[in-house]
Structures are given as structure tokens and as C-alpha cells.
């Protein structure tokens, strides 16, 4: 049997007892945490739509984890690509927005101002638009409402 040891206090580096076989390419996972991911979510949706749809279709085809590894790698790579571009083009707005989310329980409603700045920058630099799926026809989506009624808790 094996125990989990905290890697930061371990005497020697941890060795994976069951590594993936060598014929599966090694993937560098996305290192972005929840706040920045939430901030970038709609742009990942816009930028990586094809890869994400492909992955979901593949999963619908077969739930076996080995079946969709290739599609999964593409999804990871696309997200990394987008985050790199975001950091190059809109780092200041991005930082401001995800820090705001982090200080407001990661709720979009409380951070519309930095979000507008980020949306503007992303559209100007990368041509990506935030669209909320399922918004009713002819209605202003909530992130474009000028004076939203619900905009965070007063502190």
C-alpha cells in the first residue's frame, strides 16, 4: 500500500508509481488557477470552440478515458495558446479582472467595470467577443447592461 506524502516536506522527490505508457505524448498541463480561468472563460469558449466541441463530441461517442486523449491534448494546447495571447496583449486588464473576481467570491456581477475594460481590450487586440450562450433574442446580455440592478454586495 502507499501513502500520500506532502511533497513540500518530503525528503526525496516523489516518483510516479504508475506513469503513462511512453507511446502517449507527455502533456504540459495548463497552470492557470480558478480565478483567472473564470475571467478568461468566455474567451476560451470563443477562441477554442472547435476543439472544445470536438472533445465533447468525442466524449459523447465513447466515455473511455483512453478514447479522447488526442482531443483533450488539443483542448489544453488551445487554452494555453489563448492565455499566452491574453498575457501578451491584455495583461493589465486581465489581472485587474481576475483580482476583482477573487475578491468578490468569483462572481461576475460584482466586477462589470474591469470586465468591460477586458472585453474591450480583447475585442480590439484579438477580435474575441464575449457572448453568453442562451441569451434571449433581442435582449441586452447582462454584461452589456449599463446600470445592472444586482452588482455585488456592499462592503
Amino acid at each position: 500500500m502507499s501513502f500520500w506524502h506532502n511533497p513540500s516536506s518530503a525528503a526525496k522527490p516523489y516518483v510516479d508509481p504508475t506513469p503513462l505508457p511512453d507511446d502517449i505524448p507527455k502533456v504540459q498541463e495548463l497552470g492557470v488557477t480558478s480565478g483567472p480561468l473564470k475571467s478568461a472563460a468566455f474567451f476560451i469558449g470563443a477562441y477554442c470552440k472547435d476543439y472544445n466541441d470536438d472533445f465533447m463530441l468525442c466524449k459523447a461517442e465513447n466515455r473511455d478515458p483512453a478514447h479522447c486523449l488526442k482531443e483533450g491534448r488539443r483542448v489544453t494546447r488551445c487554452a494555453q495558446d489563448l492565455i499566452t495571447k491574453m498575457r501578451e496583449n491584455c495583461l493589465a486588464e486581465f489581472d485587474k479582472h481576475w483580482n476583482c473576481l477573487e475578491w468578490n467570491n468569483q462572481e461576475y456581477g460584482a466586477c462589470r467595470k474591469p470586465e468591460r475594460a477586458l472585453n474591450k481590450c480583447m475585442f480590439e487586440k484579438l477580435g474575441l467577443v464575449k457572448t453568453i450562450p442562451g441569451t434571449p433574442e433581442g435582449q441586452t446580455p447582462i454584461h452589456e447592461v449599463k446600470n445592472p440592478i444586482l452588482n455585488g454586495v456592499q462592503k
Binding site: M1, S2, F3, W4, H5, P7, S8, Y14, V15, D16, P17, T18, Q28, E29, L30, G31, V32, T33, S34, G35, P36, L37, Q80, I83, T84, R87, F94, D95, W98, E102, W103, N104, N105, Q106
Partner: protein
């Protein structure tokens, strides 16, 4: 009508103690959250994401925008070493 001045001392004490309890709890909670407000209304997804944050940065509230995950991320899932 006479005012019960003596009652103001315990009233002040009780008020101070309520304030002290609230302030101490707030300070303690924020200290555990890297100075940020406490997360609330967490569902299974949020908890999973916070677990992932911990694996990436070493703390549930730690955040990073590195494109590539640190090397330890590949092996520091507790599912790896749990007994089957």
C-alpha cells in the same frame, strides 16, 4: 422617570464583547484566506477548482496565471497514491 445608569456598564461590556468576537473571527478567517474575503455558496465544482488551485499553488486561495503547470502538478493528486 429615573434612568438606570448602572445598566450601561454591562451594556457596554456586552456590546464590546460581541464586537470583539466578530472582529476576531473575521481576522482569523481572512488570515486563512490570504487576506481575501471568504468564499461562500461553494458547490462541488468550486471545491474541485479550489483543490486544483491548491495543487497548483500550494494554497486553496493561491492564484497564478502561468501557462504551464509546475512539474509537481503531474503527481500531486491524492488519487495517485490512494490505496485502490
Amino acid at each position: 422617570m429615573p434612568v438606570p445608569w448602572e445598566a450601561l456598564i454591562p451594556f457596554g461590556l456586552v456590546t464590546t464583547m460581541f464586537a470583539a468576537a466578530g472582529t476576531l473571527l473575521n481576522v482569523s478567517k481572512r488570515a486563512q484566506n490570504q487576506g481575501k474575503p471568504v468564499r461562500y455558496h461553494l458547490d462541488a465544482w468550486d471545491e474541485m477548482m479550489m483543490d486544483r488551485d491548491k495543487r497548483l499553488t500550494g494554497h486553496e486561495r493561491g492564484q497564478s496565471i502561468n501557462t504551464i503547470a509546475p512539474e509537481s502538478f503531474a503527481t500531486n493528486s491524492k488519487w495517485y497514491t490512494e490505496r485502490a
